[in-house]
């Protein structure tokens, strides 16, 4: 089933996770309590609470404890009864499966890029050949993705913290997998499920439209777009109604999930930008800024990126994922891990990334300093919220740098493929083109 390297990497991931989950109780407690890994949306403690409330026939959505959909709550309670409360192994399995699917998706994307290149090769000049992916590169980069998914400390931490983000990520990874393998129905289904849980994936229908609207002779057809949209809306509505019936015919979950995500009433510190901003802000500006922030996540980047990257829907999909993972209202390290694991696919762009060192250093410093500033703020009492926020802010800036740099690199590479690699020398230096 797996070849040598795959089984080696998966084995490595399995051993790491088992070791950390089952033998390091102190570390596990730390992860389960840290605000960087666990948010109100995905804390397992809250899920357990929801399961018990459900058992007692009390609506879990009264009060502000449970923020899972009735469907996922039903799913978790099944898992809970099957395993008799010992869900750790299920988390590990789900994490490994999503890692493997990430790898498969990466392999398809790289393969498609490779095929594309073979087709266009005739139009390239000789000197541009150094861009070309080789067959070995495809496999190597895919392996890198797998290795990254298996040893990424952020994914491992999410798994150890028993954040239900593991399952959300699995769903999102499945969406991506069906997306790159052109399976429309499963794609729509998983996408709707994913967006019913965390709302933001709803924007991913746009790359879906770009990807699936091509008809047999590579033209976009309006009929397909309309069909996909109708299908998407239908599935969404039916999931909503399913949730409605599972919740004993009550809409109370809408308030507990979508309103909770959209209006951001919970200011528990996390790695996002919402909590600090809204604690600092005057209450009467609240709705203005809620809308601004949410528009920023959902809409602002959608149209320009779609237009620019219409020929590479996989990159567009990944980019949109990354954007809502950074700017969503309750982000956790698990979200970051989700899009991080795909980075090696685009390793051929890294040569055009300008701030590689800065980004890496910022990320490492922020990741190391966040728990320290948290300790100084909450336990030692010698620092305050600003320190902690500074670190999470640095982390966010680094992520935005990373994204903008990758887009820049992507555009630059496209430019070179089209125009060749030779640049005239002006006054002894490479010529530069600047917008002034």
């Amino acid at each position: 089933m797996f070849d040598g390297i795959e089984s080696l990497y998966i084995g490595l991931g399995l051993i790491l996770r088992i070791f950390l989950v089952f033998s390091q109780t102190r570390l596990r407690n730390y992860f389960e309590q840290s605000g960087e890994f666990v948010t109100p949306l995905n804390s397992w403690k809250r899920v357990i609470e929801g399961i018990y409330l459900r058992k007692l026939n009390v609506s879990p959505f009264l009060g502000s404890v449970v923020h899972e959909t009735p469907l996922s709550l039903c799913f978790y309670s099944k898992l809970h009864t099957i395993t008799n409360g010992h869900v750790e192994s299920l988390f590990i399995i789900a994490d490994l499966i999503s890692g493997f699917l990430t790898y498969k998706a990466a392999y398809y994307i790289l393969h498609r890029l490779f095929d594309q290149q073979l087709k266009d090769k005739a139009t390239y000049k000789d000197e541009r050949k150094m861009f070309l992916l080789t067959k070995a590169d495809v496999q190597k980069n895919a392996y890198r993705v797998l290795l990254c998914a298996m040893v990424n400390p952020l994914s491992i931490g999410t798994c150890v913290a028993k954040s239900s983000l593991v399952f959300h990520n699995l769903l999102l990874t499945m969406t991506f997998y069906f997306f790159v393998t052109y399976q429309l129905l499963p794609f729509i289904l998983t996408l709707c499920l994913a967006s019913s849980i965390s709302l933001y994936p709803i924007v991913l229908i746009v790359p879906g439209l770009v990807q699936f609207s091509n008809n047999t002779n590579n033209k976009r057809s309006i009929i397909r777009i309309v069909f996909i949209l109708i299908l998407f809306i239908m599935v969404n509505i039916s999931i909503l109604y399913l949730n409605f019936y599972l919740n004993h015919q009550s809409w109370s979950f809408i308030d507990a999930i979508y309103s909770f995500i959209f209006h951001v009433p919970d200011y528990t510190p996390n790695i996002g930008i919402f909590w600090y901003f809204f604690t600092e802000m005057f209450e009467h500006f609240r709705s203005l800024f809620v809308w601004t922030f949410q528009m920023h996540v959902l809409i602002v980047y959608l149209l320009p990126f779609t237009i620019r990257l219409r020929n590479d829907p996989a990159f567009l999909f990944w980019l949109l994922c990354a954007i809502f993972c950074i700017f969503k209202s309750y982000p956790a390290y698990g979200d970051v891990a989700f899009y991080f694991n795909y980075l090696p696919i685009w390793s051929f762009l890294f040569r055009y990334v300008r701030q590689g060192l800065v980004i890496t250093c910022m990320m490492i410093v922020a990741a190391l300093m966040t728990p320290i500033t948290w300790y100084l703020w909450i336990y030692a009492g010698s620092a305050n919220a600003n320190f902690y926020f500074a670190m999470t802010f640095i982390f966010n800036i680094a992520q935005t740098f990373l994204l903008s740099d990758l887009i820049y690199a992507y555009l630059k590479q496209q430019f070179f493929i089209k125009n060749g690699l030779t640049i005239p020398r002006i006054n002894g230096f490479e010529g530069q083109l600047e917008f002034t």
């Binding site: 150094m130 490479e430 917008f435």
Partner: protein, 605 residues
């Protein structure tokens, strides 16, 4: 965004390469000197009280404890200590005076005797036990000259009791007063705190609680007479109490003309021009501050309270006379005023201590440097590592090749060489594994010696790094970044430790970098330096000697026996203090040092 902008900035000027060594060592030395310069009056700031509610010394004194009363209590206590039922004596005294008193059993000590903490709560008449102040008087305290020996804390206990008795039923008290008499110093204190806050699952909850504890004072008076008060404020892991609290005490001491010293160093601030004496003493205080904080253990029971976010310092009755014509000991009356003023100030407090500073270094009792200032020297010391890593990084990449026809061919930012990660990974893994042993062996000097020799021999029995020059650069680049990241993290948690570690690691980096020179004798010298001067144990011994010099204030000879004794005591007790200094050293600094040492053995291929 310019799409065609070059990815590389211009190359580093050749002159810089020639001057590199000078720049790095220069920055390092400037950092060290800059640190010493912190003690100058130009850099340091004068202390002030940031929290207005404290206003120390403004209330008129209300308590009058007669000498007779104190002596009477002391006589009772002395009898209690003699009969070895001090716990019962204190408890009955508290109950007789209408103060609720409880005992906490903390187990059996080495001499097979039951150890008990006693505590009483003086309830505040004005409010319903929402907040409280704590006064701590350990039953036994270490004496000044020899830290191994303990003596009954007669005066401290007597005074705490007398204060409790007189403050009982005072109408203005808005905060409860907890009177705690822990046995077995830190051990007893820790047991009491764990039980009070229920933080250990196996601890038995206490019988009574007061309001949330805001701040407090620990009294350690091994002698019945004292000539000055030594303020001790070092917490565990480099934690410090809020500066306002210390300033309150100092203000009160100054008002009652009690000489308050830090680290037994008293700086006379009354002189108009600050002379030689001021500079020397301030520098000594500053250095002692850093050197003692770096160990991560506290110099009194207050460290345990700081761990629970209760601001506290220890007043230690010292026998040293600091005022010039002082012949008589401090009167009970004057000391009373300090305690009363302190409690009344805290009684006024509306919020927890949050204003003032938590990160500071004392120059003397009235001057300090804040975090913004003292981070600069550390930054200067670590800067060479950052510059060097940047220089290395910039030398890794090439972006374009020139063609004859006035054009460039761009390749993006490509590395000039292929990096083979696995030897680097395994090298680091080996060093980590080798130093992790330290975490598990019982730490003793002899074990440390054996383990150090193993480390020094490790390049012989474990194959050293094989790489080409470029890859070695890359390896160093990773190490430099790791080192700076570790130092950055440490500097926030425990500045003093970070500073000392930086002083140790930066020369290591320099010497490890020097092995790039081809000459064989350079390598031999580098290895020799690693074995002698940059040996962690040698550094530790030097550190110990320096501390002793500074404490003594005069020239003392190195004493190996005392070094071993102190080291053993430290290793035996640091777990008790909840300190993580040794763990951090074993898990991060030692592996880094070992990697650097082993990199002097790298083989070119």
């Amino acid at each position: 965004m310019p799409l065609l902008s070059t990815l590389l900035s211009q190359d580093i000027p050749q002159n810089f390469y020639k001057l590199q060594l000078h720049i790095y060592s220069g920055l390092f030395c400037i950092g060290l000197l800059g640190f010493l310069y912190l003690s100058s009056p130009i850099v340091s700031r004068r202390t002030y009280l940031s929290e207005n509610a404290l206003s120390p010394g403004l209330v008129s004194n209300d308590l009058s404890i007669s000498n007779e009363r104190i002596r009477q209590i002391m006589a009772q206590l002395r009898a209690g200590f003699k009969d070895k039922n001090i716990a019962n004596v204190i408890q009955s005294m508290l109950i007789e005076n209408g103060i609720e008193a409880y005992k906490q059993n903390i187990g059996i000590n080495s001499t097979d005797k039951q150890e008990e903490n006693i505590y009483g709560i003086v309830r505040a008449p004005r409010l319903a036990s929402t907040e409280s102040i704590i006064l701590v008087a350990p039953l036994y305290v270490r004496i000044q000259t020899n830290t191994q020996q303990v003596k009954a804390n007669l005066f401290g206990i007597a005074h705490t009791l007398a204060t409790g008795f007189t403050l009982h039923r005072k109408p203005y008290m808005a905060k409860d007063i907890i009177l705690l008499f822990p046995t077995a110093q830190e051990n007893g204190t820790r047991a009491w705190l764990d039980a009070y806050f229920n933080s250990k699952p196996d601890s038995i909850p206490l019988d009574a609680h007061a309001g949330s504890i805001q701040a407090g004072l620990a009294l350690e008076f091994p002698h019945e007479k004292f000539y000055s008060i030594d303020l001790r404020h070092n917490g565990i892991n480099g934690q410090l109490p809020n500066l306002d609290l210390i300033n309150t005490v100092i203000q009160l001491c100054d008002k009652n003309s009690i000489a308050a010293s830090l680290y037994n160093i008293y700086v006379d601030l009354s002189a108009n021009d600050l002379g030689y004496d001021y500079v020397i003493k301030s520098t000594r205080t500053l250095l002692l501050n850093v050197l003692t904080l770096a160990t991560g253990i506290s110099d009194g029971v207050h460290g345990q309270f700081l761990h629970y976010r209760i601001e506290m310092i220890t007043l230690f009755g010292s026998l040293e006379k600091h005022h010039e014509y002082q012949n008589s000991p401090i009167t009970i009356r004057a000391f009373d005023d300090v305690i009363e003023g302190f409690i009344r100030s805290l009684n006024n407090l509306l919020e927890r201590f949050h204003q003032s500073f938590f990160f500071y270094l004392h120059i003397n009792r009235r001057n300090f440097v804040s975090i913004a200032t003292y981070m600069v020297p550390l930054g200067l010391i670590v800067l060479p590592a950052l510059i060097r890593s940047l220089v290395l990084y910039m030398s890794f990449f090439a972006s374009s090749t020139s063609t004859p026809t006035n054009t460039n061919v761009t390749h993006g930012r490509t590395m000039k060489f292929h990096v083979n990660y696995s030897p680097i990974f395994f090298e680091i893994l080996e060093c980590l594994a080798l130093s992790y042993v330290l975490m598990w062996i019982p730490l003793k000097l002899s074990f440390l010696g054996i383990w150090l020799i193993t480390m020094f021999l490790s390049p012989i029995f474990l194959c050293p790094l094989r790489s080409n020059e470029r890859q070695f650069d890359y390896f160093q680049f990773i190490l430099l970044l790791t080192g700076s990241a570790i130092l950055g993290c440490l500097s926030l948690l425990n500045y003093s430790m970070a500073f000392l570690v930086a002083c140790f690691l930066m020369p290591c980096y320099l010497i490890a970098g020097c092995t790039k020179f081809e000459y064989w004798f350079v390598k031999i010298i580098c290895r020799f330096l690693f074995i002698t001067f940059l040996n962690p144990l040698v550094f530790l011994a030097l550190y110990h000697y320096l501390t002793r010099l500074l404490i003594a204030g005069t020239l003392v000879l190195p004493d190996f026996v005392q070094f071993t004794n102190d080291l053993e005591t430290y290793f035996a007790s640091y777990r008790l203090f909840n300190a993580w200094t040794v763990d951090v050293i074993c898990l991060t600094i030692i592996p880094l040092w070992l990697v650097l040492y082993r990199s002097t053995f790298w083989i070119r291929n």
